[in-house]
Amino acid sequence: MMSKHDEDKLAELSAWLDGEVDDPAESARLARLAASDALLNERWQTYHLIGDALRGDAGVVGRSVADRVREALQHEPVILAPRAFEQKTIPHNEPTADLTVDVAQPAPSVIPIQEQPPAKPRMMPSAWWFTATAASVFALSWWFAPQWESAVSATPVAAVSVKAEPTVSVRAPMVADQTAVAWRDTGVNNPYLYAHQEGAFAPVMAQRVALSGEGR
């Protein structure tokens, strides 16, 4: 059973992921919280998995979790009429320890399109509601997309399928992969990766767009 505090945090995360937190400071705080808090971090990934699953993509957290989310989605009944939820203010400075994670529980999609009222933290609705919302949003995006598209580009471009080539898993036979470490730490041990990254620091000039920072 999720505590009320956890529900509040997830409500904040939901609003944030829906792009409804307008205050940059508040959004930065939520980004910090999502990256550091175990529950929010896990849920953030779950939200994206649902979005990916709806789009037919697989998520970055691995097949097993993705499969569980898809499975959970398949077993969720779809309710097309969202019910009203109580709105409430959420304190921002509560402790975040002692949390449990339920990754299989579906959460809101990250692909809403309709304009929402100004940002307010929202209650975490049930998984049913999220599924219904995701389906509705998807349908609406399909309906409205052609009208809205003209703001971006004049004409749609033909769909192209990706030529799926078998990916070969390559590992150097002569190099020992000693201990598994988080990727944030590998830079020290991997001078090649480090040097490659450094190459991205230099601005690469597109010929028609000159960066005006030159010469400062």
Binding site: A35, A154, E165, D177, Y192, F201, P203, E214
Partner: protein
């Protein structure tokens, strides 16, 4: 006679349609590049790769006199990276922070199109996807689907008015998302740079990086380049463990980028972690006393082919 006329008109229509599409695509990519480089904005964004979530902040101030940019961490290791024209300075309380900054700076989000848009669209085809929202704003997803094999697919969500890249994903050929970056807060209101707080940590490192010329015809005869890639840099460098100079070549197709390191095998070489980061992969090939290492955001088989082609030509 009539069917010939019809055929000719059909071909003409198809050609003009493709041209119009390409022009619209070029305009979209140019707009995104301009939005990332030559506008003023601030925001927080997250990097999601390898099941790790990293929260970052950017302040980008543009004026006709130049660009001043500050990136910083919002959690975990604390660091700040300041770019003032060609000068980049890393500030962090200790080494781990510097390394975290290094990783974050390697993704110059939202400035993801580093090459000539026309060149990029010779090798990727734009495909419209769906609407989304990010940081309180609408954006429209487009896929950049590689025309040739051995590249990753990119999904990019453009803000319609400005062209700003609000979200981006790198996907492998199976559609698995390897890496994603997205704004979680975005604003055009940026305080004047002279009011920005000074760096709170000691300076760990500074780079003076002149811009790399973007000549899509630049090439090399040392390896077989995948179609569309061109040489950005060819230089000699040394690694911190004091081994002898390593030749470091960098290539790009305007979107993906890879490095090739060529060096003689030496007994004191230390083991190297084979892990990449998100979409960045690594392949090492050692043969005939030469080690060839290829690092980049390309599929494994592409990196392998590149490394093998170096061996074949040496």
């Amino acid at each position: 006679m009539r069917w010939r006329y019809g055929l000719a008109m059909g071909l003409l229509w198809q050609a003009s349609w493709a041209m119009a599409n390409n022009e619209a695509g070029v305009a979209l990519l140019e707009k995104a590049t301009l939005a990332a480089q030559q506008t003023t904005y601030q925001g927080s964004y997250v990097l999601h790769a390898d099941a790790q979530l990293t929260a970052l902040q950017i302040m980008h101030h543009w004026s006709p006199e130049g660009v001043l940019e500050k990136r910083s961490s919002l959690e975990g290791e604390t660091w700040e990276a300041w770019r003032d024209g060609h000068l980049i300075r890393l500030f962090a309380p200790h080494h781990a922070g510097k390394m975290a900054a290094h990783t974050a700076l390697a993704r110059p989000y939202p400035n993801i199109f580093t090459g000539e848009p026309k060149h990029i669209l010779n090798h990727y085809r734009l495909q419209r996807l769906h609407l989304d929202r990010a940081a309180g704003q609408n954006c429209l997803w487009w896929a950049l689907v590689p025309i040739e094999p051995n590249r990753f697919v990119r999904h990019v969500c453009f803000q319609p008015d400005s062209g700003m890249v609000m979200k981006t994903q790198v996907l492998d050929v199976d559609g698995k998302v390897l890496e994603r970056l997205m704004f979680t807060a975005f604003s055009r209101q940026v305080p004047p740079p002279n009011t920005w707080p000074k760096p709170a940590f000691p300076e760990q490192r500074r780079f003076v990086e002149p811009p790399i010329s973007n000549n899509s015809a630049a090439t090399t005869d040392i390896l077989t380049l995948p179609t569309g890639f061109y040489l950005l840099k060819d230089r000699s460098r040394t690694f911190p463990d004091g081994r002898q100079a390593v030749r470091h070549l960098t290539f790009s197709d305007g979107l993906a980028r890879f490095s090739v390191f060529i060096e003689p095998v030496q007994p004191q070489m230390r083991p190297v972690k084979m892990e990449g980061q998100g979409a960045t992969r690594l392949y090492i090939r050692q043969r005939d006393g030469t080690r060839v290492t290829v690092v980049g955001d390309l599929p494994d088989n592409a990196l392998r082919d590149i490394a093998e082609s170096v061996s074949a030509k040496r």
